[in-house]
């Protein structure tokens, strides 16, 4: 694919995005709640498209397709176990929404700090999220770099791709906060779904239609259709990959923060149904796309290059390939901008005021905007260095955020949970994650996330039981919303 053509498409996409950002800006009011949560007034359809776009990142058509190429059908199981984890939204969505309205929370870390009566806990969760989500964003930007460079045969350099992605993410975020992020997300969700379906239909047709495609996979790649298949997805590898992702909806602040933002419960319901529908469809498309790569570009040394290779070699006409490249580029950007916005809100509200007490909301918001730029700049810088440490931290990120899950579950379901228990659990769990990751040690062949999660649960329960719970024993989070939940017929 020629670089000029890709640049033209990028320009068109950027122009459309800028129009969306400009429209979003016209609605922007003052204050942190408006900037970070769009005034808690996001409608159902935008919420659905935005949630889906944030959670289903560029990983789908790049990483998941690559995982299918490498390990076969296990990739489908992995993604659908995550999908089943979206069921957590039915328990936590209404609860987080209710306490958010009642107490005016803007960040998930602020919510946890208030629940356990510990600003220190809020700060710890905020810092930890930065430490692991900045590397995760780096990998997204690096993905853009590889994608653009791969599909144009080097016509666009990896570094140019990183800078381009970072620049657009910064504009999408600074423009109008969550409003511009959510609206550009919605644009992206439509682009990626339409282009991915078109690309898949084209490639299957080029392979001789569905009958031939399915028959050839069975004949030529039979092991890829069974578990553990060609070998990648051993049972414990599968467990280690799926466990952190099952809890993604509550462990990752850039998605759990969205639960504060819907305008009402009808919008939250639309968000959940829309995300589930988009997710199931997009999962199947990405998996079949990965299988098609096995037939069209077999024997790649690096399975992560399955999609760029498929798009580069003239296998797909430019009219299909270029929009898909834009869709994937947009998907990576929407993940980076959501993370930058969430981290900015957490640092602005939960870390900075501790360093500078009495700093007020205007100052807080200004700090947040500086943090947005710093987060994106740091992500781009780390991506351009291509350090091993970055991919290591990125891999560890899902396991590290998993250690916050006992604290989150306890906030709504266990009166006896304490701040000391939460702090100790998160610190011990993170310590185990890093120690295992850095040393390469394995405990009894168990995957690392299983070990660190078990440690986090045990420490949370153990330390909570020997320390004093907050005076109100979490009343505002448990008893205080029970009647509302019952009337809403929520479990």
């Amino acid at each position: 694919v020629s670089a000029a053509l890709v640049w033209t498409a990028i320009a068109l996409y950027a122009a459309a995005g800028l129009v969306v950002v400009a429209l979003a800006r016209r609605r922007l009011a003052t204050g942190a709640e408006d900037f970070y949560l769009a005034g808690r007034h996001v409608g159902g359809l935008v919420s659905a498209a935005s949630y889906a776009a944030t959670t289903y990142s560029a990983f789908m058509m790049l990483g998941l397709a690559g995982l299918t190429y490498r390990g076969g059908v296990g990739a489908l199981g992995f993604e659908l176990i995550y999908f089943a984890g979206l069921g957590l939204l039915l328990l936590f969505g209404p609860r987080i929404w209710l306490v958010g309205r009642r107490f005016g929370f803007i960040t998930p870390s602020e919510m946890l700090g208030a629940r356990y009566g510990s600003p220190l806990l809020a700060g710890l969760v905020a810092v930890l999220s930065c430490a692991f989500l900045v590397p995760y964003s780096s990998v997204q930007l690096l993905g853009i770099g590889y994608l653009l460079s791969g599909t144009t045969d080097g016509g666009i350099s990896v570094e140019t791709g990183i800078v381009l992605g970072a620049g657009l993410a910064a504009v999408w975020t600074i423009g109008a906060g969550l409003r511009s992020v959510a609206w550009t997300d919605a644009l992206q969700a439509i682009v990626i779904l339409v282009t991915a379906v078109a690309a898949l239909l084209f490639i299957v047709d080029a392979l001789g239609g569905w009958g031939t495609f399915l028959a050839r996979i069975e004949a030529e790649r039979g092991p890829w259709l069974a578990q553990p298949g060609p070998g990648f997805f051993s049972f414990w590898t599968f467990v280690g990959l799926t466990l952190p992702w099952f809890f993604f909806a509550i462990s990752n602040p850039q998605v759990s923060q969205r639960l504060f933002t819907t305008e009402d419960m009808a919008a939250m319901r639309t968000m959940i149904v829309g995300t589930l529908s988009f997710g199931l469809l997009f999962t199947v498309i990405s998996i079949l796309w990965g299988f098609s790569a096995l037939l069209v570009v077999p024997d790649l040394a690096n399975p992560d290059l399955a999609t760029p290779s498929l798009l580069a070699g003239g296998n797909v006409p430019a009219v299909i390939a270029v929009p898909l490249v834009i869709g994937i580029l947009a998907a990576a950007i929407t993940t980076v901008d959501s993370i930058a916005l969430t981290l900015a809100s957490m640092v602005g509200r939960d870390v900075y005021p501790r360093a500078e007490p009495g700093s007020g909301e205007r100052r807080e918001l200004l700090v947040g905007k500086v943090v947005i730029l710093l987060v994106i700049a740091a992500a781009a810088f780390f991506a351009s260095l291509r350090l091993d440490l970055i991919s290591l931290l990125s891999v560890a990120s899902s396991a590290a955020l998993l250690v916050i899950v006992p604290t989150i579950v306890g906030a709504f379901f266990w009166r006896r949970g304490t701040a000391a228990g939460a702090l100790a659990s998160i610190l011990a769990g993170t310590g185990v994650v890093l120690a295992l990751q850095l040393s390469g040690l394995r405990i009894a062949a168990l995957p690392n996330p299983v070990v660190s999660f078990a440690v986090a649960i045990a420490v949370f329960v153990g330390i909570s039981l020997v320390t004093r719970p907050p005076a109100d024993r979490g009343a505002g989070f448990i008893d205080g919303i029970r009647d509302d939940l019952r009337q809403m017929r929520v479990d």
């Binding site: 489908l76 999908f83 089943a84 069921g87 266990w414």
Partner: protein, 78 residues
């Protein structure tokens, strides 16, 4: 964890389903090198998960949500 919560039926069903999502492909379908094996199983799995969750939220009484309170001087924090 305390008397506050019994596991709802849909959640129990989801947990059983997820357990099957691990067990069936590894125990029963590890030799089936065909689309009718683990692929079909997981597609049905995804469809059933979708059905359970959508059916449950359809039962929500979304109009019973409390009206938004103006953030007053008291009660900003629990």
């Amino acid at each position: 964890m305390e008397e506050t919560m019994r596991l709802p039926l849909w959640a129990a069903g989801l947990i059983v389903l997820v357990a099957l999502g691990y067990a069936v492909p590894y125990l029963l379908l590890s030799e089936t090198e065909a689309w009718s094996g683990a692929f079909l199983f997981w597609i049905v799995f995804g469809g059933v998960v979708w059905g359970i969750l959508v059916a449950r939220v359809a039962f929500w009484n979304v109009h019973a949500a409390p009206p938004r309170r103006a953030p007053g001087p008291e009660g900003r924090r629990p």
